[in-house]
Assembly symmetry: C2
Homo-oligomer: 285 residues x 2
Amino acid sequence: VTGFVTATAVTARGDGATYDVTLDPLWTVAERPNGGYLLAVLARAAVEAAAAVGADHPHPLAASGHYLAAPVSGPADVVTEVLRTGRTASQLRARLVQDGRTCVEALLTVGRLHPDAEPWWSDATPVDLPPEDACVLLPADRPGRPYRVSILDVVHERLDPAVLGSAEGRPSGDAEVRGWLRFADGHEPDPLSLLFVLDALPPATFELGPMGWVPTLELTAYVRAVPAPGPLRVRQRARLVQSGFVDERCEVWDSRGRLVGQATQFASLRVPEGQLPAPRRGPAG
Amino acid sequence: VTGFVTATAVTARGDGATYDVTLDPLWTVAERPNGGYLLAVLARAAVEAAAAVGADHPHPLAASGHYLAAPVSGPADVVTEVLRTGRTASQLRARLVQDGRTCVEALLTVGRLHPDAEPWWSDATPVDLPPEDACVLLPADRPGRPYRVSILDVVHERLDPAVLGSAEGRPSGDAEVRGWLRFADGHEPDPLSLLFVLDALPPATFELGPMGWVPTLELTAYVRAVPAPGPLRVRQRARLVQSGFVDERCEVWDSRGRLVGQATQFASLRVPEGQLPAPRRGPAG
């Protein structure tokens, strides 16, 4: 298993702006690098680029990635540009380029998170979950699924059984997935890895019925704190499926119950005509 | 009053990439152009740039703006680059440049929204509000406030009295503002103007006590439908105030009760030391 630090390693080219990366074949879904993983690779390069201009901003605070083309595993470049440096935060652009083509372009705010930060105000109660050992470990391979979810070899995702009805043909009808997450190699969560965690669960549309591929167009993630060691609680929820597009909101809490990451993404739904069930509305939210 | 269409007008420079704009002095808070207004200006240029390369994508679907420096009212340039054109969506970068300095850089996905789109699945019940005439119209000038909220001359914002305790020194203690919104000149909401609406309410921290200036670092907005004519319902809510940063989530429903816009923003809080009340937690969410 290639751990998070190795899979997101960047090597400065020497021009102060370009970084060599190797996209790892394990950090993929259906052989395509996962979107949150790519955002973490871009953020790793961004914090290095900020350090290269003297900014003490080792953590991503906010990152917006727009997905233009799916890269393949293997070598790629990250091209960075420092847009602004400030006292508490710096802002950068980072682009993932492969074979001369920009696959992902991101804008990032980086800064320094303090390990002992506590909420001044919050309404973010951790998502309610059964105990970890009462949840169901997702497999990378599943009979009848024509592709491999290789990221499930690098993270252990244990989902609440209540959101796993679709695996048995009885989807819950609610656009929410939730569960526990740990890195398979024992890597404890850190701020950079939260960018991956915020896009690691199955699509929130999982329990609405067969929906096909849900490619991300845009993913915005906020990292709010240095996560404590231990398992993470993750909830991903959609608000509206309409006209072939869906939003998904993700929240991550650490083992101390603190909200450490938030994300929203905008994805398209590629569902073959006729495969869509009749329109319906979900429960009032 | 300068209406939305005039205030966001862009004029092609002729190179297919650059647009002249004039930032309107009325679309400001404390004489600084509003962040959602600036995102709308960038999106106006982006849909024009998409049209210039033959894409039938007149509406913003997703836009992420990162705020680097506050521009002033007056002339500025928008520099666009088409990153990808596709069948259902195109993606672009747009930068607002004033006096040679990039003030806002944004990544945008544009496409075409269909006026009769209905949810296939949704849990987005419209925010509950008292009738419009039982809500309180916000004034651009308020005794004791040292700056002018000029955008309140171009939009009529009627807030739920329950979130206006702070005006009388009795803040609710909840990080939510909500109310009705209409353009003052009778302009009916359209997809582009939702980018402004999604950042038009007072900060969600309004009812937590005196918080000072809340400058936006990042604003991501999704436009989900062509809004029906009539007043808009808007709710803005924070999840976590910590370490000098706050997230704010905004949702907009049209007069037919459809969710038409969603946004999230990441802002810093500039509160003078000693002015912060003791740490506390909000109600469980």
